[in-house]
């Protein structure tokens, strides 16, 4: 019995993803090895004495060879144990899980608004191609994507938090906060993230649909007298899904792994700040764990995009 071509392609993609993840773990490990500086010095700061540095290095097992440390770590990860943070002696998994949860919450909230909005704006742009709604949407989204995120952050803080006190400038979320309170707290970063990713997705939707609009079946639909918006939404969009999904996934991945600047500006306890703090402290196990999670998110989302593209292709879905 042979596998359905879609299943075979998907299995191939998943296997490739796992291989990539392994390669990423090797790269992450190599990267952490060539960082300048030293864990003990970074933990104890400038005021450390030689004596206390030597003591700490001994305690942390930093004198073991790199290869030994890598494989014992990899074995731990495969057993679900991410190890102990060198800097504060706490287990990594619970702290990381909390931060990852926060990051996914923020990214999710931004995505829930940004993705439908971007696609809708893309459709409107095509409907009113080269007329004022199209030009306005393009101008605004291109402007917001061009402004650095920290500046967007400061602008919304100035107007919405300091001048009108509409939303809080600090987005700190913590245990025991209600869902509503959390949503209120992340209002400003969500606005900034939506503005930051909207342009890319909207422009891609617009371009992909315009491509399809040249085809014969769209012309047929037009000749049949269908309403322009129905043609775009029902006939053009499904055939433009593959490139759109790719860009959407790229932006979702960005929302998860690339928002450290936004986290800093709004004091949001996500993965980015967590990773940066531990890089500065040369806390190798945490950096590796974060790197692995980020790599998994990136590879995972791209995998989804690939599979959706395959499914969106009728020739693959219905083999002869």
């Amino acid at each position: 019995m042979t596998l359905h071509p879609v299943a075979r392609l998907a299995a191939q993609r998943i296997a490739l993803g796992l291989l990539l993840l392994f390669a990423a773990s090797v790269l992450i490990f190599l990267g952490t090895q060539i960082l300048p500086g030293d864990v003990a010095q970074a933990i104890l700061g400038r005021s450390a004495t030689q004596q206390s540095l030597a003591t700490l290095r001994e305690q942390l097992g930093l004198n073991e060879p790199a290869l030994t440390r890598y494989f014992s770590w990899l074995a731990g990860v495969l057993h679900g144990d991410l190890g102990i943070a060198l800097s504060n002696g706490q287990p990594i998994a619970p702290a990381l899980a909390k931060r990852l949860g926060n990051t996914l919450f923020l990214a999710g909230a931004a995505a829930v608004i940004a993705v439908p909005l971007a696609i809708l704006l893309g459709l409107i742009s095509v409907r009113y191609l080269n007329r004022w709604p199209d030009r306005l949407i393009s101008a605004v989204t291109l402007a917001t994507i061009s402004v650095p995120e920290f500046l967007l952050g400061y602008i919304v803080i100035f107007f919405l938090a300091v001048q009108y006190q509409f939303l809080p400038s600090l987005s700190t979320v913590y245990d025991g906060m209600s869902f509503g309170a959390r949503l209120h707290a992340i209002g400003l970063p969500v606005i900034v993230l939506v503005l930051a990713v909207l342009g890319h997705m909207m422009r891609m939707t617009r371009a992909a649909i315009l491509n399809v609009m040249q085809s014969a079946y769209v012309e047929t639909a037009e000749l049949k007298g269908l309403r322009p918006f129905a043609i775009i939404a029902k006939h053009a969009l499904p055939n433009a899904v593959a490139p759109v999904v790719n860009v959407v996934m790229l932006n979702l991945a960005y929302l998860v792994v690339g928002v450290v600047v936004v986290e800093v500006v709004f004091v949001y306890p996500g993965m980015g700040q967590y990773l940066v703090d531990h890089v500065a402290k040369r806390d190798v196990p945490v950096v590796q764990a974060c790197g692995l999670v980020f790599a998994a998110v990136y590879i995972g989302l791209n995998l989804v995009a690939d599979i959706v593209s395959i499914l969106a292709n009728p020739r693959l879905r219905h083999p002869r």
Binding site: P36, Q41, R46, T55, V267
Partner: protein
């Protein structure tokens, strides 16, 4: 009026005693509350502390890697957190007077070698147990252990023995040091149950606020500790410390009313912020200073003439004006300023002089190869700009100074104390002895300039045990002049500490030692 009462009044004047505590103690002299009130200085009477409210601090200097071990506190947010839950046995008041806290009283022997601290009774830890002299001794033993990672290890090194004698803790030093009580006021030395030997991260102490919850580098929540021993401290119902490392975010949080006090206001925005409604900016001259350090054992900095050339080629006033925006004072190539006790105002100020710089540069016979100054923005705020100013003025004097800009990351491990010429900072110490001993004695652990001068060492060590203040002051002046002439440190400026608080906070007292009233803002202020 008897002598004790006079002393007590002087103490109130210095801010060492709150109104409530003052009235409590005058009552002990048999005075009525009414008479006690009439004796109080006017300013204090006007400010009756109110209880209640939750005060929120937005602080720079915390990371998700932080722990609660006070020995590891080495950044502003962490240093402030230990003040919430802990107490030291003595404190240094804003005017540098010593205030007994968990010790009721203390005295040193005539040679300053043996010190006896009488420990207060009836003081409770947050876990309900009573604090004993054993806890105090254990705390000091933990921080003075060779294997300890404590930031206070350097100042505990001079201790030979710590013993408990009844209600007293007796500390015997290796050699006389009349500053010992100042050293024990160090913020690392919060008294912990059993010295924190078994669990240094517990966050349990005798302080006015009890830890409720915390997330490292993010948020620390405290509630008032009902059994705190000193009713004059801790007027708020609770304290929240939020770590906000981004300067603009910190300022915005204060302006939008989400926090009541912030530290490290950027000097560039301080003047603008002071005009914002509902905000007071507090700029306090202190002992913190920025430095360029030359390692005097490495060429070309082993040449005294070249060092002098560089010292004359730096335009200090320009740096204060442009780097600190006026929030600071010029330095004089030794690490002491007027914020220290026994400072000698009459020492000559080194002036910017291109002629003298050129003269000394010529005398040095330097071959004209580039002199590389390593600098990162993280060395001190504005370090890169300061180095550029230094380069420009040095080049006017014909000195080929080159700025080597490096990343913040790894700066303290790979550049500072490694490269022969780089930028750095010191946050200052409570007394002159410590500020000289920690980086400038020949055998000092952190001798980042590699300065070794027998005459200087002798002066500092002799001054340590000297009890005659006039003689001691003279010794420090001589030491300062030696370091100023011979040393490898260039001190262009002393930076003010700039905090900002909301107008709702009352009871603020300028304290030059550390930011936010030496960390005592939550203990000493209240909501008006």
């Amino acid at each position: 009026m008897n002598d004790d009462l006079a002393k007590l009044l002087a103490f109130v004047d210095k801010g060492g005693l709150g109104r409530r505590a003052f009235l409590g103690r005058t009552a002990a002299f048999g005075l009525t509350a009414a008479l006690g009130t009439t004796l109080l200085p006017q300013g204090l009477k006007a400010q009756e502390a109110k209880k209640g409210g939750v005060v929120k601090l937005g602080l720079q200097g915390g990371e998700s890697t932080d722990t609660l071990d006070p020995g590891l506190a080495n950044a502003p947010a962490k240093n402030n957190v230990v003040r919430q839950w802990g107490d030291t046995i003595v404190e240094v008041a804003p005017d540098k007077a010593l205030v007994p806290r968990l010790a009721e009283s203390f005295e040193g022997s005539a040679d300053s070698v043996t010190w006896t601290f009488r420990i207060r009774k009836g003081v409770k830890f947050h876990d309900g147990s009573e604090m004993t002299p054993e806890d105090v001794a254990a705390t000091y033993r933990r921080h003075s252990d060779e294997n300890s990672k404590s930031g206070a290890f350097g100042i505990m090194e001079g201790i030979k023995e710590i013993t408990v004698d009844g209600d007293n803790v007796v500390i015997t030093l290796k050699s006389g040091n009349s500053d010992l009580p100042y050293l024990l006021a160090d913020y690392h030395l919060q008294i912990q149950p059993k010295g924190g030997m078994d669990n240094p991260d517990a966050g349990i102490g005798t302080g006015p606020y009890k830890l409720v919850s915390f997330e490292p580098g993010l948020r620390y929540v405290f509630e008032r500790f009902a059994d705190h021993w000193d009713p004059a401290r801790g007027h708020y119902d609770g304290v929240e410390v939020l770590v906000i490392n981004d300067t603009t975010a910190r300022t915005a949080a204060l302006q939008s009313g989400q926090v009541h006090a912030i530290n490290r206001v950027d000097p560039k925005v301080a003047k603008l912020l002071s005009r914002a409604p509902g905000v007071q900016v507090k700029s306090i001259p202190g002992p913190g200073h920025y430095v360029f350090i030359m390692q005097v054992d490495k060429p070309p900095f082993d040449n005294k003439e070249l060092r002098l050339a560089l010292k004359y080629a730096i335009n200090r006033q320009e740096m204060v004006d442009k780097i600190l925006d006026g929030f600071g004072t010029v330095g004089n190539d030794f690490p002491i300023n007027a914020s220290y006790p026994l400072f000698d105002e009459s020492l000559p100020q080194r002036e910017f002089s291109l002629e003298k710089a050129a003269e000394h540069y010529k005398a040095s016979g330097h071959d004209g190869s580039p002199i590389e100054l390593y600098v990162a923005e993280g060395a001190f705020p504005g370090a890169v700009d300061a180095a550029a100013l230094f380069q420009a003025s040095a080049q006017q004097a014909g000195i080929p100074l080159e700025v080597m800009r490096v990343p913040d990351d790894g700066y303290w491990a790979d550049v500072w104390n490694v490269k022969p010429f780089c930028a750095s900072y010191w946050s200052g110490r409570p007394v002159q002895d410590q500020m000289y001993s920690v980086p400038y004695l020949s055998n000092a652990e952190w001798n980042d300039t590699r300065f070794r001068n027998q005459e200087f060492d002798d002066l500092i060590i002799a001054a340590r045990a000297e009890l005659d203040e006039a003689k001691r002051k003279e010794m420090y002046s001589q030491a300062a002049m030696i370091l100023r002439e011979e040393g490898g440190v260039i001190v262009p400026m002393f930076n003010d500490s700039v905090d900002a608080i909301s107008e709702g906070i009352a009871g603020w007292i300028d304290d030059p030692q550390m930011e936010l009233m030496n960390g005592f803002l939550t203990q000493k202020t209240w909501f008006a």
